[in-house]
Symmetry: D2
Subunit: 383 residues, 4 copies
């Protein structure tokens, strides 16, 4: 889990930061601040105390290694984090300290913090996905009529156009992006229910206030044991990683020496070999394919959390955060790598034409050009 | 794969029939009929030939065991099925036989047939899901204020109401049903692209006509190698199975002898033991939990089909049909079993009250009743 | 689940029969016969009754569809099957009927029957694996010094020999076969423990007698809730499917038109296209790759059965039989398909040499020939 | 991936260190030192150069964050690490620098480094597994005749003894440990083959020398594209995690308030609730169950690496290191947590007896005590 070298081979520094410890602690403290303010707004706590808590939370900084040990010992991050925040607040005003985390439960903090991280992650996914989508649309348009060999079951089939191939990549990525956005809209909601999800000791209105303060949605009920939102996010990311991996699969096959139809852009220091000076490895495709290979197992790790026990399960939901983080990281790594690949894709028109001619399957590309136009129009409408 | 006894332990006879051999052959023949008619409507084939093909297809019946052997040998169902259909048509009119399957490829038949089976399957899922949802809404409403012990991490927590538990079950199932319906709307489209997906030799309008004839949607492009629709369906079914399994998890835990809060309805001959006369096993819950346990692995089997090779992959998409069929079968089995369980759920009010009292955690159920009303209102709006 | 056409595309008729309904019922009846005889041998039942039960069991035949419905309703096969067997026995001798299934529980029958099916399945796996292994060893020996281009990350690397590639395939399959045999030796044990696994009402010696009668091993304890044997079998099959898929991956890549180094053997009616007369699809590779794609998800479906509840779980172990059957079927299909492919592999020496020359990476194959000899010697020793 | 707080909730600090960046770089440098020495021993390099490389490698320290960025850019750790090592060596002796990494390829370094980390990991697994096994054997022996209620399908069944339950836990863990040791013996081998696995430019004897220097086994052939060893390790760890999770499942169910038969040992600051002072959560069980839930998806992520492309795949093997690390970390976390739980398990004899009496299923524990003795004897023999 904890090797930066191995993580960075698959993920961007940006997304690793979004799901890193600093961001987690920051998100947890934002939850506590929002809760205090919401209680004050509902008249359940003095405003001054709420502002003090928010101020202390904004400035608090903890030793991550110590906090990690304490959280592991306690069985939950909330216990040491809330204890430390209370101590800091108490140092300023003893009475206000009791209001920290009031009415909340550990999972309120854990889930809301994860959703805040997912919110930041979703923004990065949207940007990288948009960049890839734009590059694919440009490619499809530019190469709408460029003939090449279509291949099925890894055998020569009939002529297609490169634009048609790119249009299919585009539709796959766009559909996966729309699914992800839809799932994010549903899933990115605040969690606040208290110990058994009944809002015992909390005014009903406090949930909406916390959600608003944090820019998250308001759930119809606390969702401690109702995890379909998380599962929807996870599977949407896995499908997006797969749709991105599809492009990598095709590009890497086209880049085989004997085909030589396309190459990843040459980037100084990237894709070399420690043993062979002549090599230019499809490193961007490698990142995307690795993501597509890991995503199914990760998605299948989130799903067993659905049938969890009673009002908060034992074991199931605790696996979600690390797994969801991996899905965000891998998918963003894949999107980013392939956006670079597609933007700078090096095409070899002679090999595209030569391989088609050598296959001896004629040159009738059917309705390919018309299909590309149709697909691009639909892609524009759907955006 | 092929044990009816083992299949029926997890699935309904109805859904097994939807994905059985007879239905598969019927769907494949409907595709061929629709294609012939669409070609005629587009002026690419004589109407009489199309009507003859449609008529022969409607009446054709093949020996399934022989067809299965032939399809396995050929590597695809289309080859023997089309050959047989051509022979039957040729016996009536030699010239019309050449029009059978004209312009289509094996995967056009395979994918469209699967989508027709999925269409029938989706209708059954909708019915069973609706029945479960209605039973849950009724339970939540009826028991909105019935106090019971809330439990977290399998330990006593604070009081909740049974209605709140049921409202959470309801929201989970409803959200999963809506996701499934959305994915089905996107995914249930016809497949028609010809050998390399360019509609070579086919009029552009033929796709929409085939789709309309079959009640399927029109894809923006042939999707031989773009499988996000299938992946979306599969993951939506897996999430629905998980949301249903959640209910089974809770009911089976409440049915433990020491808790005794609820039991599956007594049904003659169901849930007995071959060794212990006194037992009443939670057989409905077993069906739903088994489905929830199998669904993640099945969903993760569909996802590697996304990054498939070129215009039609080798190995990846060929695993989808059997896997998707299993997901439909298991999910329908789970929904049906739990609809029966919830409709007839045997509650033991004394134990609900007694266990709460014994836990010594007071009787404050917080905002539970209000939350139930809120959730039921939201559930009604979302429908 | 229940489509023979879809099953046969991936599995052999032989292995489908091993896990079919007839074989399941036969195995269950053999368990009942062995139990009756073991009880008699231990002095816990009259010999005449045991022989009568065994005789009736050997001749019994049931309507599978009816039995499947009844088993689904009851929640377990044992209940209707034992009831029917008792009725048949009672028709001959009322008193003997009470001895049927005496002391046993449903899972004793279910697990032992599954192990009898797995025993037959393991024999088929051994045969098909041996055939593939022999074909690979012959290929490695024959082509030990045939130069070809080695490829890494789908890019040209340095020269290798075809024999070295085949030797790696061989070592992979052989290691996986040895693991499978080892796991089968441990896992293929009888199940007999009675309702709670204590052998209540049963003499201690009855387990070993039942095991001996059925040719199964004797477990140290009843293993109703200890499923590592099943998990070991399942993962060993998945690894074997993957090692077989590795060969298919390479052969299908070498068979690409632009490489043209190898082709699956030409077999009349196999690998054709419903749309393109010129095509020869790598259908054997497709079978093996599909198996390798499905195996991980199936293996991951068995593993959640490990942490099951108490003396017999709810939901977890009930998924094993269908899943394990699929793993046997897919792996046997893959082994069988690739044995045929490798035995008849069509090599194109000019393309092997030409692609190497075109890559411009020299002709130094390093220690390849010596490595092949070394690997073959080791493979022989390990057998 | 990269959150220490989330990692530590599931893993021990020890195992996190084994798979951390420092250990990875140290292992990679040990590989380079061993390679240089092996070359010298085979007469392929001057001894002085080899000793210089080994000395510099032993003392080298790099900025991890920078190295991670460079490795991500290059597509492999070997490129920047070897470049840096060469620079350090060149500063001492220009001529020796050329000998660094001579004849090796990136994957030789990556795989051997991973195996060195796995070797250290396996030792920790052995220790923690041994501790859990010993605690289970002691529990089984001590409670061999303590009656309690056996439960099947989460319903009361017949009496068992606590010792019988513990003996089953013991056999499950022991069998999984033996499988893991066997797989580790086969898998923990050095990797050295050069660019295409032919040992081009390397003396044949160098592999055995590198292996010996590092305490790893000697592979029959380079295994760049033959990954059954890794798959065997991964699945063995997953089964071990599952067998450990089984204990956690049972303990957490016995710890339910209404059963009250057992509790995790009370440890100050562990298992508390941020909302409820009265709670004592089964935190050790949570760790083990989370591991058992994550293990199947992780194992299923390793398996698709088996059918990888040619002499070194694209995407498949690159996912193994992070995934295998997670399996080691989670399994060690689970074993360690449950060893503590079992050693200090708090039993409530009155509830064990009371729940059994309340079930009204008599007090016949069958052959339980005899079965426990038999199982303990077998466990001792197998060790």
């Amino acid at each position: 889990m904890a090797s930066l070298i191995r993580d960075r081979s698959a993920a961007t520094a940006q997304m690793i930061a979004v799901f890193g410890d600093e961001a987690l602690v920051r998100a947890a403290l934002r939850f506590e601040a929002a809760l205090a303010r919401a209680l004050a707004d509902e008249g359940a706590a003095p405003s001054a105390a709420a502002e003090l808590i928010a101020e202390v939370a904004a400035g608090a900084a903890f030793d991550i290694a110590v906090l990690a040990d304490e959280a592991a010992h306690a069985g939950t991050l909330a216990i040491p984090l809330v204890a430390r925040l209370r101590t800091l607040v108490a140092a300023r005003d003893e009475a206000s300290a009791a209001l920290v985390h009031q009415g909340a439960t550990s999972q309120d903090l854990a889930d809301t913090a994860l959703m805040l991280q997912a919110q930041a992650g979703a923004a990065l996914i949207g940007e990288a996905g948009g960049a890839l989508s734009a590059a694919l649309a440009a490619l499809a348009e530019r190469e709408a009529t460029t003939s090449m060999l279509g291949r099925t079951l890894l055998q020569p089939a009939l002529p297609i156009t490169l634009g048609l191939k790119a249009a299919n990549w585009l539709l796959g990525v766009d559909a996966a992006l729309r699914r992800f956005e839809r799932e994010a809209r549903d899933a990115l909601v605040a969690q606040l229910g208290g110990a058994a999800g009944t809002l015992a000791g909390l005014p009903l209105g406090v949930v909406a206030r916390v959600a608003e303060e944090l820019g998250l949605g308001v759930p119809p009920l606390p969702w401690h044991a109702r995890r379909d939102g998380i599962a929807g996010l996870a599977t949407a990311l896995a499908i997006l990683a797969g749709a991105t991996g599809k492009i990598a699969r095709d590009v890497s096959l086209m880049a085989q020496g004997e085909l030589g139809e396309a190459m990843e852009p040459a980037i100084a220091g990237r894709g070399g070999s420690s043993a062979m000076a002549h090599k230019r490895n499809p490193t961007g495709c490698q990142v995307a394919l690795s993501a597509a290979i890991r995503a199914p197992g990760l998605a299948s790790t989130i799903l067993p959390g659905l049938p969890q026990e009673h009002e908060r399960g034992l074991g199931g939901w605790q696996v979600e955060a690390a797994t969801l983080a991996s899905l965000f990281e891998l998918t963003h790594g894949a999107l980013t790598a392939m956006a670079t690949v597609i933007k700078g894709l090096e095409l070899h028109p002679d090999r595209l034409a030569g391989n088609l001619a050598a296959a001896g399957v004629g040159d009738d590309v059917g309705q390919a050009a018309q299909l590309v136009r149709q697909a691009l129009a639909q892609a524009r409408r759907a955006r």
